[in-house]
């Protein structure tokens, strides 16, 4: 190989630079999101683990129940009634999108378009 003494070290340096972000962050998952929990309320409508994985499914189901089936009966947890609604239900406790929704959505790089139509109780006004 012509100029092997330049090419091989050059390749090694190139690969090392390109993979730098990988081995720099190896074994480190980055800052874990810490969504702010609402104050004064201890229980959500479902266990936290379920809500973490399936809140989007809950919202989808609510949408169909409310809009199509006309089923708007609030969900009662520990004597408190919650509307089947993102704006009028969830956001009544989880008031701040930036401190709650965005924490995980940014971490997982999810961009839901809820806020094109639904507004934020605190941020919009």
């Amino acid at each position: 190989m012509y100029d092997g003494k330049y090419i091989i070290p050059g390749l090694i340096i190139f690969v090392a630079l390109m993979t730098f972000p990988i081995w720099k962050n190896m074994g480190n998952a980055g800052p874990v999101p810490k969504p702010e929990k609402p104050k004064g309320v201890t229980k959500c409508i479902e266990p936290a683990q379920f809500m973490r994985t399936s809140h989007m499914k809950v919202l989808d189901d609510w949408r169909d129940q409310v809009l199509r089936e006309g089923e708007r009966k609030p969900i009662e947890v520990e004597g408190i009634e919650y509307d089947r609604s993102l704006m009028n239900g969830c956001m009544k406790c989880h008031t701040e999108k930036k401190k709650f929704c965005d924490e995980c959505h940014t971490y997982t790089s999810v961009k839901p378009y809820c806020w094109d139509c639904h507004f934020l109780p605190k941020e919009t006004f």
């Binding site: 949408r63 139509c117 639904h118």
Partner: protein, 272 residues
């Protein structure tokens, strides 16, 4: 067995015809009727055409034009009430306008009526028009995503999440009661009168009157009806309930509907 080529072809042909034709023939004969042709069924009774609503409720409205003519500005009050409650934007531009309820002259509202030598009172009147919540809604049939649908209580509602903005429903609606969001409506909604309980829409979806379905569940009347107060200009109720106020009004007055000949079976009636 010795079989000739000619015989084989005959048997094969006959069995193919029998195989294809038998199920179709059985279906026709056993059911005792042909499969319903969509439009043919729409002219029949509402129950038959829609597979009777389980609740039996069919919500409707009566607009008493005599009261609106006597109260100048009442119609405007209704429009404002509706558009405020539902966060309807005001673009200040008729091309982009979003309208849930609006005023039109007689000949625009009732295009199928004869306007030859119509009386002066009609020429001056402006009629409030809004979604007719048809019992046989053509918009629902046109929607490719089921974003618009007919509820059990007869309300033709929309799920803006599903709307892809194809505007087939706008083409299908013979009354022109649907509006398209050409632009992002958010900046054009007055923040001072914002209804914080009701979402806005986004660019690229169609919207229309929803008979205030979100208010009905709270036991309230539709916003326009509420704005009329006790003038009796608008009556809202169950068309199928023999003891409802709306049935009484309909029985006592001569009413007309918009384009009844189309077979859409509107649920909105007008006392002229």
């Amino acid at each position: 067995m010795d079989i000739k080529r000619r015989q084989f072809l005959k048997i094969a042909g006959l069995s193919t015809i029998a195989g294809l034709g038998a199920p179709a023939a059985f279906n026709l004969l056993l059911k005792g009727q042909s499969s319903p042709v969509s439009f043919a069924s729409s002219g029949s009774s509402p129950e038959a055409s829609h597979g009777a609503a389980p609740t039996g409720v069919r919500l409707g409205m009566v607009v008493d034009q005599r009261v609106f003519d006597a109260n100048i500005g009442l119609a405007r009050k209704c429009i404002n009430a509706c558009h405020t409650v539902h966060n309807v934007p005001n673009f200040g531009n008729p091309k982009d306008e979003i309208k849930w309820i609006f005023e039109v002259p007689y000949e625009k509202a009732f295009t199928t009526m004869s306007h030859y030598h119509s009386n002066e009172h009609l020429q001056d009147s402006r009629f409030l028009v809004f979604c007719n919540h048809c019992d046989n809604p053509p918009c629902v049939r046109a929607c490719p995503t089921k974003a618009t649908f007919k509820r059990k209580d007869g309300i033709v509602a929309m799920d803006y999440h599903r709307c892809i903005g194809c505007r087939f429903c706008m083409a299908a609606c013979p009354y022109g009661m649907r509006s398209f969001n050409w632009r992002d409506p958010r900046p054009f909604i007055d923040k001072a009168t914002y209804n914080k309980e009701f979402p806005t829409r986004m660019r690229g979806v169609v919207e229309k009157c929803n008979f205030c379905v979100e208010r009905l569940t709270k036991g309230l009347q539709p916003a326009c009806v509420e704005a009329c107060g006790d003038t009796g200009a608008m009556t809202f109720g169950d068309l199928n309930d023999p003891y409802s106020e709306i049935q009484r009004v309909l029985k006592e007055n001569f009413t007309i509907q918009r384009k009844p000949s189309l077979g859409t079976l509107p649920s909105v009636f007008y006392i002229v």
